[in-house]
Amino acid sequence: MSEAINTTVTQIRSRKRFAVKELAIEYAVLFLLGAVLIALAILSPSFFTFGNIVNILNQNAPLVIIAAAGTFVIISGNFDLSSGAVYGVAGVIAAWIAVATENVWLALLAAPVAGVVLGAFNGIVITKLRVHSFLATLASSMIFTTIAVLITGGSLITVTTPGFSTLGRERVGGVFIAVFIMIVVAAIFWLLLSRTIFGRHVYAVGGNDEAAELSGININRTRVIVFVLSGLAAGTAAAIGVSRISSGQPLAGAGLELSAIAAVILGGTSIYGGVGAVWRSIAGVFLIALIGNGFDLLNLNPQLKDMVTGVIILAAVGIAAAGRGRR
């Protein structure tokens, strides 16, 4: 009898320990995000101010949008290395149309539309040529950047059309319009991935495409849509970006693609596909962003920023790994 009780107690204990471990694995990125938030709040009085928080949100709106869509790409078992190039082309096209037509809304709408077209190009190349997306989007990013260069002649297009910068710079109730767009887009992507049949199919294609195909899922169509979403996101981000700095430039998005992928994986979405979530990528974006913000606020030597970022990334994944024992 007493033995039975003992067993139960042990079981409960071990279940509890297990739960903490599981949580650590599951929410490593949130723990770290929280730790960095607390550290910054203590170290810098200007950190937890309305202005700074709004700034951080605003600065990262484009990347959040790209990373949210990038989550779909990674979960579906793919890479999109062309987001930065799509951002560049879409921005250049928007600037060009703004200068040519003086029609601000037409110009800013052209950016997401261009993104959709280029994303569809990626998706079709990948499914028709059956190329791995890593190589395909590396190649397509070269092609896209060239398009942007040809439009601008290698230089940049400055937009002075009144109203062009509204999207990127104006505020409503003290909060930038871009932040509202970011929230809406992120919410849509989150719902799309976690609540719709399409989202389920994205997981299935990334988890085991053979099983997905056997289940009657049109895996090629799913892949194309995923890349269209990624293009749409890059184009939308570009609309915000180009409006913010009022000029279009082919290389404006250089490096965004790697930042987005890093944020997605840092959040805990599996690079092998099949597992992940939109909120994770957003957490990943802000974890990296806070480090940068902290360096600027605390006036630390910017040369060390990369190292601290690297160490924190390793710490995030290390926490998750610490939970697991020997297989």
């Binding site: 719902l191 609540r195 719709t196 049949i197 399409f198 989202g199 389920r200 199919h201 997981y203 299935a204 988890g207 085991n208 053979e210 099983a211 997905a212 195909e213 056997l214 289940s215 009657g216 899922i217 049109n218 099949g274 597992v275 020997r326 297989r327």
Partner: protein, 509 residues
Amino acid sequence: MAEPVIGATLIELRNVSKRFGGTQALDNVSLEVRAGEIHAFVGENGAGKSTLGKVIAGIYAADQGEVLVDDVSVERWNPALAQRHGVAMIAQELALVPDLTVAQNVFLGAEEQRFGFERRNLSERLLALDAEVGFGLDPRAKVRELRIADQQKVEILRSLARDARVIVMDEPTSSLAAKEMAQLEALMRTLRDRGCCVVYVSHFLDSVLSVADRITVMRDGRRVSTVATSEVTKHELVTAMLGRELDGAYPERPPAPDRTAAPLLRVGNARTSTGVEGMSFEVRPGEIVGLLGLVGSGRTECLRAVFGVDELSGGEVVYRGVDWARKRPRDSIAAGLIFVSEDRHRDGLVLERSVRENIALASLGKRAAAGVISTRAEKSVALGFASALQMRPLDIELPVGWFSGGNQQKALLSKALAADPKVIILDEPTRGVDVGAKRTIYELIVRLAQEGIGVVLISSEHEEIMELAHRAYLVSEGRTFGEIVPEETTVEKVLFQLFNVTPNEEPAA
């Protein structure tokens, strides 16, 4: 979809051929499957059964020939289209999405929606479906965490969930135990009576003969014959499959070894975090020892721990007088303790690599000087085992993933044999293997024992253990609770013991 008329042709193949690289997997095959029948495909490993099934389900496009559905020829036959026409398939090698739940897998591609959002009724739908079959699966469990038999059940439910008229089941029972096999057979009959067609691919000829209405025999990619079950005997079937006579399913059991010899391997009260609660057994040189248990009894887990893949949390393992409790697989292999996994795709083979490389993989040190591999030595050992086990095609340079399921199993066994075992642990060694090759594998087991090698045999086909083993342990819920001598008892008695053990019963230490 109109209500099927019993006997109507649902799908017809006309002169279908399919080639993979150098092998002609299907050679001018014509065939029809009808409403209200269970249509079995039998044949040797590599005969083309799975390929035929996949052509029917639209997974493979035929190189030549036509597919007719309801007497109409269809272009671009693919899984999605097949599904719309009510054709579903359970693949031989499980194809599930590991990180989705049971219910999500079962209804994948057949979700119900409201305004584009998924209706959150998967669990209820699954329970309703499962009630028909009685598998008792947890709808919310992740498939990754299920054992292989349960994964096979998920596959079965998935095909049921499609309301299919034609269900191709490619070796659906290869991981199931007798009880579950009976459940499945009952299910097949129900489906048939509803007017569906079940295509049943299996190497269990007794099962085929008991449920099938018609049987198609395949050999070398050709259809040899299609006959009504009532018109054939098992003997005729085997002869038609192999193209030769087979003298008995089992070879003679080798003479029992010296019972006083020191055991090669001794496991005492082994425990693991994976469900082994206290297993004890020993193997002597030249002895074939079976572990008899129901699926899920923890046999695999115990032997994985003995081999060193998983950690032992308690108890002892002594191999040739040495404490083996903290060893890794590489130590075991180096010392001649070899393990053949039950899941050739998950942890058995490197599918992209050639048969030669796979066979040599665990014993490269023996075929190399100063770290440089002798290609000749490697080729000769690979070819030796591949031909001894009748691999087909006998081309050791092809990637092992291109071979049929049974032939892959032979490559897996060859890898273990090439490593010069002193004790070999065989976990379901004949999974998916045809009757002819099974006999070859049994002969091999007998020969290993005669050479003084200790053999540990796990099999869900209890008959294999009853016919080959000198001794066998009874396993239930992670514990050994008894020991038998197969020669002195019967399968029925053993099953009775296995089913009637209760957890409270004292394990035999």
